[in-house]
Symmetry: C2
């Protein structure tokens, strides 16, 4: 077995995931649990880390632990304050917070990033800085679909800007908590996706366009089985249109996604005649923490 | 007492309201109940009308009853199919559906309207056609704030187009069912409204801008007490901006609203340097049904 060099931890709101990683970036072991930060009591973080990674730490006493995600938020282990954009890898690494696990181990938390747009409105991310760095993209756009999708702009190896779109959360809430879900019939089909994409380029913005998820069914244009895919197409189409409007010059685009979400974004980008490449979240996350760790701790 | 000439009924999803109206449009009596169409069993509509208006019908045997709202929807008394735009008052009156109450009384249901935009996406309204007609506006825009706000375009006395914005429903659902409501602290203040209006003119569209209701609090720009008014400002600002983008040439604008909602829209329109006048929903509703009734039934 290759020698372990890093424990990479993705500690989010509802989920804990840790990877034991070799010098070549190979995942030697993996731990996944439902111990997200919401279920860890204040002061309980060292014990939770020990519970999931104690065996690895015992075997490799000198191994550093680098963590990213909501573990660095106000309700996490320690707040790692947002660092302002633009930021290089070494800027972010230099802002990593050291937390004491025990005397033998070095445990670090990666900070999130903040930015203000031209009108002064702030935006934040936490965890996605690591994924963006892990893509290895020097200049271009990194698109990170999710509950809160992030569009991250890279320039000469720096993170120079980003924007959040509430795509995943709006999908869930529009379907379950508004009138738009009432005409939905299960099982869902995928027929509505292309129509939703098309509706996103129409007039009126999202608050107007969303209502058409109801009216298209009322008028017999769409089956109730297609309501969910229609809303998905509308929200992803809107995200892509607005994302490009904010970053019209991006040439290289990497989407960090896999499975059904990657397929949906691929179809949506193809409709816009934009070429994109795809990378998996796990590979980007591990590579991002390796880069941040190497910058802060020095390469071995 | 003036002679009663019309019973005007606003029968919506959750509420029944009836007005006994004189030839001059004076309200002689009023009945309000929670008997919205959702709480009336199929076939129970004649009895529900009799329950609330039976005394008026007994006193004025020849009086016509004209009803608008969801009573004409698929789940109402009888479905009064959507009439396509453009439509004149007499077009809509000619599409009114007659339902039998008993042999003596003439009971009518006003149809809703449908339209398709340039990309073929449909939109519908039901009840707001009556309010728009009741404003008496010949050419210009009628803005009807609500759970689903409607912007209705009038030209030479016809309803030539309209668009829905889910402003009220999105306000409720974003606050109660998404992460945006988590930083809200009660009591709500009004400080966020102007900031939300401003955020609506920023880049990224609603799915991006809405996230700033959280980040402005995280970054210390906004108090938790201002989250609700910020979201309100953002949604109303977005509605007005998109509404005008769809109808840039409108000169005369009437907003049908009263109380706090009228104040909010007045402030929002003032920020856009647009002059608008206000009318109350009840007066427009009664006047709209009087005009439709007169067109169909002939003036006495």
């Amino acid at each position: 077995m290759e020698k372990a060099e890093l424990i990479a931890v993705d500690w989010g709101t509802t989920r804990f995931r840790a990877f034991l990683v070799s010098a070549n970036g190979v995942v030697l072991a993996k731990a996944v649990a439902d111990d997200g930060i919401l279920s860890v009591a204040s002061g309980g973080f060292p014990a939770a880390l020990e519970k999931h990674c104690g065996a690895w730490l015992a075997t490799s006493p000198d191994i550093p632990v680098v963590m990213a995600g909501m573990v660095g938020s106000r309700n996490g282990w320690v707040e790692a304050p947002y660092r302002q954009c633009p930021a290089t890898v070494s800027d972010i690494a230099a802002s990593m917070i050291s937390v004491s696990h025990d005397e033998r181990h070095r445990v670090w938390i990666v900070p999130g990033l903040s930015i203000r747009d031209s009108s002064g409105t702030p935006d934040v991310l936490r965890g996605e800085e690591t994924l963006a760095i892990g893509t290895g993209l020097t200049s271009g756009l990194v698109v990170l679909p999710g509950t809160h999708s992030k569009w991250v702009r890279m320039d000469q190896g720096r993170i120079v800007g980003f924007a959040t779109f509430m795509t995943g959360e709006l999908y869930a809430t529009l379907l379950s908590d508004t009138i738009l879900g009432r005409l939905r019939e299960e099982p869902d089909d995928q027929v509505g996706f292309a129509k939703g994409l098309q509706a996103a380029s129409g007039p009126g913005g999202l608050s107007h366009q969303a209502f058409s998820a109801r009216t298209t069914v009322l008028m017999g244009d769409l089956s109730g089985h297609s309501v969910a895919s229609y809303i998905s197409g509308l929200l992803i189409g809107s995200e892509i249109m607005e994302g490009f409007a904010m970053e019209p010059d991006a040439e290289k685009i990497i989407v960090v996604a896999e499975g059904a979400i990657a397929e949906a974004y691929e179809l949506a980008f193809r409709t816009k005649e934009r070429n994109v490449s795809f990378m998996t979240p796990d590979s980007c996350f591990i590579e991002g923490l390796r880069r941040l760790g190497a910058s802060r701790l020095g390469k071995k």
